[in-house]
Symmetry: D3
Subunit: 255 residues, 6 copies
């Protein structure tokens, strides 16, 4: 099922530069997981979004024969800034990181660039970076088609495999879904004994008025993480991978 001509994927963190050069030359697509350092309730680690994005990017890289880049461990998480431990980058900083990395790849002859995003707040700045890279609007940098993969099929997979409802439409944060995925990928960082359910009321003005999530859920939990299992996490991750691989392969066909 490997799409890339070079016959294999590489983990760029552990690769040397000649290995990376060879992979680029063979057409391997670079994949950058972009995470966040953000509160996820009392039972999940602050790196939850990074863990999830890295897991998905790794699986996609394996399937499409890509070059997996090291995860960016911080992201835009200003709506959780009220919780100690949330370390938010600004919009500009997230955009700059993605633009700089994409610019380097473009100069080295990459034919495309895939960003696998794991955090809601990163969506707007990553789209802005991808638009500039794709359109050739970064001064001195050749155009680089840049795809932003934002958990395609998340709602469907959650509805299919989770046993509890989300706290709001399309709102998954420290709930059964996220907890299951982290249980599947990094179980030692999950404290199920601290898992508690929380279905808070959202104000009528949400999300039209910027609101600190701390005001809505003091624990930081939205939903019910208690039924989470690694099996559920694995099933959801597999579904997400399938959809993301399809998307990346559509992208590769356009290059």
């Amino acid at each position: 099922m490997t799409y890339s001509a070079h016959g294999g994927w590489i983990d760029a963190a552990n690769a040397s530069w000649p290995e990376f050069a060879e992979a680029l030359r063979a057409g391997a697509i670079p994949l950058l997981p972009f995470g966040a350092h953000e509160q996820h309730g009392p039972h999940l680690p602050l790196q939850t979004d990074s863990i999830m994005a890295e897991a998905l990017a790794r699986r996609v890289a394996i399937e499409v024969g890509g070059a997996l880049l090291p995860v960016v461990a911080y992201g835009e998480t200003s709506n959780n800034a009220g919780f100690p431990g949330t370390l938010s980058l600004s919009f500009e900083t997230v955009r700059a990181i993605a633009t700089d990395i994409g610019s380097a790849l473009a100069a080295q002859g990459a034919r495309g660039f895939v960003i696998v995003n794991g955090d809601f707040g990163n969506q707007a700045p990553l789209k802005a970076a991808a638009r500039a890279l794709t359109s050739g609007h970064v001064p001195g940098v050749p155009p680089l088609p840049t795809l932003v993969v934002d958990y395609p099929g998340f709602e469907e997979a959650a509805a299919r495999f989770a046993t509890t409802l989300p706290a709001g439409p399309g709102f998954y944060h420290a709930d059964e879904v996220e907890t299951s995925i982290v249980l599947a990928v990094r179980p030692e960082a999950v404290h199920m004994d601290k898992a508690e359910a929380s279905y808070p009321d959202f104000p009528d003005t949400y999300p039209s008025l910027f609101t600190q999530l701390q005001e809505i859920s003091p624990s930081g939990v939205f939903g019910d993480p208690r039924p989470a299992t690694p099996e559920t996490g694995e099933a959801i991750l597999a579904a997400l991978t399938l959809r993301a691989v399809d998307l990346v392969q559509s992208f590769l066909r356009r290059l």
Copy 2:
């Protein structure tokens, strides 16, 4: 030997937000390893600087009872931009990442902030960020004393434990020293069979004229990595840790 009142260190990547909040409250100092994704010859991984900074920061965190933050895996490496695989951030981006993370910590009541730097190009932007944070010049952010730890005692430790000379005064890149440290910390990413020595001539204008290192050493190696051993790496790392712990404790006494 633990300085912090709270009696232990935490690995913030795996911590939940209440655990992080408790550590901050108890006075734990946050430590941010700042690495790079940069060529290190044919035998070392692109993440070498991140691996080294993370290893040092982890050891210091353990000694001083600090809160180890996830490594920033990318840095300013423009002088290696000619090598495929080097993915350099700009000066501004490195400064912004450190400023944003420090600003969040300041708002959450951290009493200080330690950045453990692993990359030459990060020095200037991290100093600029630390100066602004320390001086209270970030708009809307309370002053946060910020220490930049830049491998204190590196030259002495290298001279004492390594068997070969550096390629230039204070210039250590993909040589016996760096190779030994990665062998000690992440041996599976080192390919000693590809290790080769290179003592290139530096132009007379170096470093007064900005020069791509690729023009000086096509392999990206500066020095002789071949005698590297994990034992040498461990010895150097221990020496660096000792000096860095001293520095951080001096810092903590001033807070």
Copy 3:
């Protein structure tokens, strides 16, 4: 039904400064329609988004006793930049306009600020501006709760009153819905004789890969504008107004 204490709305374009001062003092909420100058097919005017946003903002202002500000006639429309006549502002420029206007209102003692958005590309920069204003992150400016109204209930209203389907889920551009609204508000700018239907295929990578809409629909039409009528437009506009008034009143209750 007027919520504001001062008993009436004002059209700030035609008001003098003492009239505006009096309205602010009486608690009138300022409403800023934010439009765009963007292609809308061969039958709709380039100001379509501005016309729609202004019409909605005016109705909401009347209902809530607000202060209607002059429309911003340009917005972020980079995905239509391939069509002559589309004059796109950058992300930064849209954010700066909203931030500057909000900052002036905050300094003058406004208790809140409502932005009525009429353009997809404006969403991210207006949210960024509103977040900074609401959180008090604009240097030297007191916090100003800022609500972004983004056509609440659009899909429901479209489904209820339009006779044709949109070209894609949530995608309304130069179709029956938009054409009907402009017919209701500024009929002289609509050329129904030039209205043509277009249900183009979206590439699989849409919208994960930034794509010029010109490549998808050369005419700039998405959907079927031909059955559009002013009555349909009036019905949709009334439904949008109802939902927007509810939202603004929820917002006013929180101030």
Copy 4:
């Protein structure tokens, strides 16, 4: 007297994109009126500068067969920021709006660009934008000759047609001249019953020291608006149009 080859002017607000494309192709010059939302005493509307700039731009567009763009309703008015209702953009924002719009026009093949300015504070940022556009200093944008029309012949026309003196040399604000022009163009927004004269003393340091005009004239009036008539306004506007058309035609001959 129409200079443009295409034989007519267009009002781009109401035009469709194919109509705008055709006008550009035929050589129509785009004209952007740039106004402000600024106090103009108790008898004139906050949009006075926009109304005046739009009226002049429209007349020039008709004479030269140009493409009239929608007015920018906000401008740099920081010296009136002390009055409620003045909503000032920053220098950067005004420059960015003009630069973005000019950049879009340049990409679409416009042969030149005319900005018709109606506000004193806009002069410096619009000149800066025009300089960059004309010189080809906007990255990625082809050079676009850009003319800034700043009420040429204003003092002469005022001296010839107004019956009262300005409050200071070259200083016209909410006086007979401006009031007459608004009476000619949008009479329903003028409240002559509230018109009052004010000939305040200017401090010796004016304008070398930045001064809020509120400190000089608490009413915001400078001069005597009471003798204003629509006839005077029409005469002045005709004189301004004549001079502006001459200027634009000189500009067109250079392209």
Copy 5:
């Protein structure tokens, strides 16, 4: 005639920090001459504007008992950029220099700040800097009343003492007036044998369309420098000083 309480002026370039501190404490006003490095024909030096601004600032400092700061030798001169030797700063850079220096003075307790400008292109950025400093809009910096002195009474003095006409209204560049002043202040840098007259035609679009002055006058001379004498220069400089001292003393009375 000395206004300052401390009884004397100081030349800050040669002063030590305790001397400067004492002068500030005694109320001495800091004066910053802001020049440019710009072509002034074949007979005048590139530093002409700096020489003139420094000479005027020095005389004013002596009269008002001020603290003369070292001249800024570069300025915004983009309209002369076509001539080799013109080294123009951008608008932003000029503004930043003035803002940084004013910010430092404000932090050190200066009661005001005077900028003596010698270059046309500096006017807009210096006004922008002065506006921000005066209004307290520089983040973290207390308000600092800042006066920009722009050769008050230049036209009158030129008309009174020079024997030739300027090349255009208010346009003095490398002509009798400027040449006379440099002859009075730094005669060794003037080559009267190379002085030649030039009364070029200005295009009708000047200055509404940004134009390189090289296109108008290939020699860079505007007017007739040949009758210049040091006596004329001295007379003009004395007249300018008188007016500038009046302005600064009005400013000091307002502090």
Copy 6:
């Protein structure tokens, strides 16, 4: 010993534009001394760094047949900001000045650019500017090889000619070395009667933690200026010149 083909050096401050044009054409390298306005104890002038950089640049220009540009009299001196009279520019401002001047030179066909730096705080921003200019990363500007000369051989020369030790390794500020050089170049600005020695204790965290030097040495002196003589200054300056000329000639050979 003159390297340049044109047979002589020029002082660009006093040169006319045709003279500068001729020098550039003949291959003269432009040299920009970059100083600072910074406290140097009670016996040295605030312009000490500018005086020293200008003196060195002048001597190098004479030796290599270069074009000496006027000194930039202000620099980044934030670590001395606690002393009245220190007027620090920001990192960005220093970088922008160097970038703007280099950009103008590049556009005029200079084959290279030399910056002679006299201030510690300027090092990072000047390196950043030089890197961008050399690499061709300034939008719209052709690449310009740019050398930053930072007192090569300073420590050796100080050790050889001075009779006292520095206050810290590589730390020379208001001591015998700097005092001697200013005595050699501008003796009238030195007050030896106020010279006092100061060998303060540096905190253990210096320089890893940003520290105001005022906290370390209240007088601003670091070392013992009392034995300073013009002869020592002349000897050190001669040694610095020799090294700097070598460096510049190596640079010229690479162009």
